[in-house]
């Protein structure tokens, strides 16, 4: 005795759409801006009312003026462009290498025993310690800077991927076995989707470290880039320039992280998380 199959439309079989409620996080955005705006306003008032000199810590209006001048002259965009290119190149190299090595260590016990102890030891080396070696090996130009950023990105991605593979629910892999998936199909249909959320989180961590390492990289002797702007501000005794570079770093880092999150969110919309409820 079988129940008649109802006619199903493509709409019914399709994956559920995003929740219909508004995704514009206007309230949350304003909340996030509350603290920096309050601090900026407080400092501005303190300097204007004469409570503080603002010589070593210039008020927001002066930092904004410096930023505007740098933007108007085109210098700011040159520095941003140079820094972003280095971060992007280093991020791609580090992410690819970290993913491959993480996958190798995560799937093969022997490979993990060979590589993991050395990689964990190298992970403990401070970023700045690599600088002289990379300059000797790769010269003072772009290659050494990109290599340093790639090192920074590599470790969180490696750890994230290897840990995610080791942590895959054995029971889900068994479902693949029940349906006789071959090795390639098992990776494509079970392993990759299972590690995807952890991989994306590790990419975010890697990107954040990429922005940290680009400063060290640009301290190596760059002639452009936001790190150069920092060094230049220090040498010229211009704290407004240093703070302008720091603020630009913060905005760029947040922007890149947001782009990464938004562009990958559709891939993990199946997750049952508290993200949208907190």
């Amino acid at each position: 005795m079988s129940a008649p199959a109802p006619t199903l439309t493509d709409d019914v079989l399709a994956a559920p759409a995003e929740a219909s409620r508004s995704r514009v996080p206007s309230g949350r955005l304003l909340l996030g801006l509350l603290l920096p705006l309050a601090l900026a306003l407080g400092w501005e008032l303190a300097v204007r009312s004469g409570w503080a000199q603002g010589r070593l810590m210039p008020p927001p209006s002066r930092i904004f003026a410096t930023l505007s001048a740098l933007a108007a002259s085109g210098e700011l965009w040159t520095h941003i462009g140079a820094t972003l290119l280095r971060v992007l190149a280093g991020f791609l190299l580090g992410a690819v290498a970290g993913t491959v090595m993480g996958a190798v260590a995560g799937t093969s016990d022997t490979m993990r025993r060979i590589f993991d102890p050395s990689l964990q030891a190298l992970r403990a080396v401070p970023s700045i310690a690599w600088v002289p070696l990379f300059i000797l090996w790769l010269g003072i130009f772009e290659a050494s800077k990109v290599a340093l950023i790639a090192v920074g990105v590599f470790f969180p991605v490696y750890l994230g991927v290897a840990g995610a593979i080791e942590g895959i629910d054995r029971k889900l892999v068994e479902v693949g076995r029940v349906f006789r998936l071959g090795r390639f199909e098992m990776v494509r249909r079970v392993i990759l989707p299972a590690v995807l959320p952890s991989w994306l989180i590790s990419l975010r961590s890697g990107l954040g470290l990429g922005f940290m390492f680009v400063v060290a990289a640009e301290f190596m002797g760059a002639s452009e880039g936001l790190g150069y702007l920092l060094v230049d501000g220090q040498q010229m005794g211009r704290p407004d320039s240093i703070l302008a570079a720091i603020i630009t770093f913060a905005v760029l880092g947040k922007l890149c992280d947001t782009i990464l999150v938004l562009s990958t969110r559709p891939l993990v919309r199946w997750q049952d998380t508290v993200r949208d409820r907190l």
């Binding site: 199959a5 709409d11 029940v178 199946w270």
Partner: protein, 261 residues
């Protein structure tokens, strides 16, 4: 039909999980395996599913020896084990990826309709209740049209009402294609409701202890005297199996040869 011959399983740590299992299940028959914890019910099911290798003996399904997961054999586990990144429909169609898309779609729709979840086809597993997820799991096992369906305590985590409802669903599905069904359960009520034969196992090592045949038309009336009698026979056998686990079991007995109903 499937035949289990002289099957034994010893794990690498020396645990002797199963010893000398001999069992024949006829095509279209429903058999329930009951027994105390550690008596090897799940081990036996995993061996029949081809998920583990026997230390000795063999399993033959329709003339083919099972040594690895086989298209003849489907299994639904204690937990639904739905892949959270696939929609309900994609989970159901997961095991028939080699079927042409149009036919796959048709079979998925049909399988979902049979478990009354057609309207949930596009949802994520997390959006379903435990009972609904288990129905999807059973639909996924059945959509591949197995000749043998193995159910490893599939209803144990559900409340009594949902469990009763799923018993009805399962029997309806079984009526449609009459696969051979082996269900592992701790619930004697469930075993007598579903099975043609209830096989009591005993532990250390796992062995078949006693077989109780249930002669009754389905659906079975749980208030009938015969139902209660059958339950008591199974419970008695279970009790004896646990007390006598270190001595030889009685020969398999058709304890239900009498028509209790």
């Amino acid at each position: 039909m499937f035949v289990v011959e002289d099957l034994s399983k010893t794990y690498s740590d020396g645990t002797h999980a199963l010893s000398d299992i001999n069992l024949t299940v006829a095509a279209g028959e429903i058999v329930a395996l009951v027994g105390g914890s550690g008596c090897g019910k799940t081990t036996l099911l995993r061996l029949v599913a081809g998920l583990d290798q026997a230390s000795r003996g063999r399993i033959v399904v329709d003339g083919e020896t099972i040594t690895a997961p086989h298209p003849f054999v489907g299994i639904a586990f204690q937990e639904p084990r739905l892949l959270p990144w696939l929609t309900v429909a994609d989970n159901v169609g997961f095991g028939i990826h080699d079927v042409p898309a149009a036919e796959r779609r048709e079979r998925v729709i049909d399988a979902l309709a049979r478990v009354h979840l057609a309207e949930h086809a596009g949802r994520w597993p997390r959006e379903l209740s435990g009972g609904q997820q288990q129905r999807v799991s059973i639909a996924r096992a059945l959509v591949a049209r197995p000749r043998v369906l193995l159910l490893d305590e599939p209803f144990s985590a559900l409340d009594a009402f949902t469990r009763a409802s799923l018993h009805d669903h399962l029997l309806t599905l079984w009526e449609a294609s009459r696969p051979t069904v082996v269900v592992v359960t701790h619930d004697v009520d469930e075993a007598v409701t579903l099975a043609d034969r209830v096989i009591v196992m005993r532990p250390r090592p796992g062995r078949l202890y006693e077989t109780i045949t249930v002669h009754a038309e389905r659906p079975r009336d749980k208030l009938a005297v015969g139902f209660d009698k059958a339950k008591r026979r199974v419970l008695n056998a279970l009790d004896r199996s646990l007390k006598t686990s270190d001595i030889e079991p009685p020969k398999t007995a058709d304890a239900g040869a009498a028509h209790w109903w």
